[in-house]
């Protein structure tokens, strides 16, 4: 019962804050509601008993990505005239609603084979053995490290001032 209440609160807050990101005129308030959306997603991970992912969500999204986005908003501040919409409003709304209808129909009409046993409750150690074991995901972890290094170097090179 408590889980259901937590899910509904998180779901409503997540949807409302995502709508606020799209429809608020003030860019900074949109960024703040994006942070609220990230926090509720972390709460949803907790209701799914994914505790490590909830912590990573708070650290990476609420901590790092939000700071990056707010920094970008601050650096481009003098051109911020709210967040206007382009001429594609009605076609984009039609596309989004049709896609939503298709996805909801597919999800509700598919007979999912829900497993009977309870999910693992502390997930950190099983995730570590899954990620770093011999027959696990060691190669994607290394590739992810190289990808992050390349992204850091690329961001530095792109934003560096050219004129000395």
């Amino acid at each position: 019962m408590g889980l259901a209440a937590a899910f509904w609160i998180m779901a409503v807050v997540a949807v409302v804050s995502a709508l606020a990101v799209v429809f608020l005129r003030n860019v900074f308030r949109a960024a703040l509601s994006l942070i609220l959306c990230f926090i509720t997603v972390a709460g949803l991970y907790i209701t799914l008993s994914a505790d490590f992912l909830a912590a990573v969500q708070i650290l990476v999204y609420v901590g790092a990505i939000s700071v990056l986005i707010i920094l970008a908003i601050m650096m481009t501040r003098e051109v911020q005239r709210g967040s206007p919409a382009n001429k594609l409003g009605i076609p984009a709304a039609i596309v989004a609603v049709i896609l939503l209808g298709i996805m909801v129909y597919t999800v509700t009409s598919t007979p999912w084979k829900v497993a009977a046993e309870a999910p693992l409750s502390p997930t950190t150690v099983p995730l570590a053995t899954k990620l770093f074991s011999e027959n696990g995901f060691v190669l994607p972890v290394e590739i992810g490290a190289v990808l992050l290094l390349a992204a850091i170097l690329g961001a530095i090179v792109i934003t560096r001032e050219k004129d000395k």
Partner: protein, 103 residues
């Protein structure tokens, strides 16, 4: 009414479509990046829900969600760097006015 897999998947679909609508309609490049982050978070919710309900002891979906987070972090770093570089060159981040490569 107990909360099942369908609830999480429908919530994920709703968040994804909100992000898609924002990414298609907004003219501010930073807002477009924020909407893409919402879409990636929606995908992560559905991955974790599948992992928790279909294969509760394998955690494969959570591993995939971690990799999605890695790619999202790289994407937002490079994307905001590109936005700042465009802002320095053009003094504008309205994507309707950034049409140098349009023919």
């Amino acid at each position: 009414m107990t909360i099942g897999l369908t609830h999480y998947l429908v919530l994920s679909a709703v968040l994804f479509c909100i992000g898609l609508y924002g990414a298609l309609t907004k003219r501010n490049a930073v807002i477009i990046l924020m909407c893409i982050e919402i879409m990636l978070n929606a995908v992560n919710i559905s991955l974790v829900a599948f992992s928790s309900y279909i294969v509760p002891t394998l955690l494969t979906g959570q591993v995939f969600a971690i990799f999605v987070m890695v790619v999202a972090a790289a994407e937002v770093a490079v994307g905001l760097a590109i936005v700042l570089a465009i802002f320095r060159g053009l003094a504008d981040i309205d994507v309707n006015n950034i049409n140098l490569m349009k023919w």
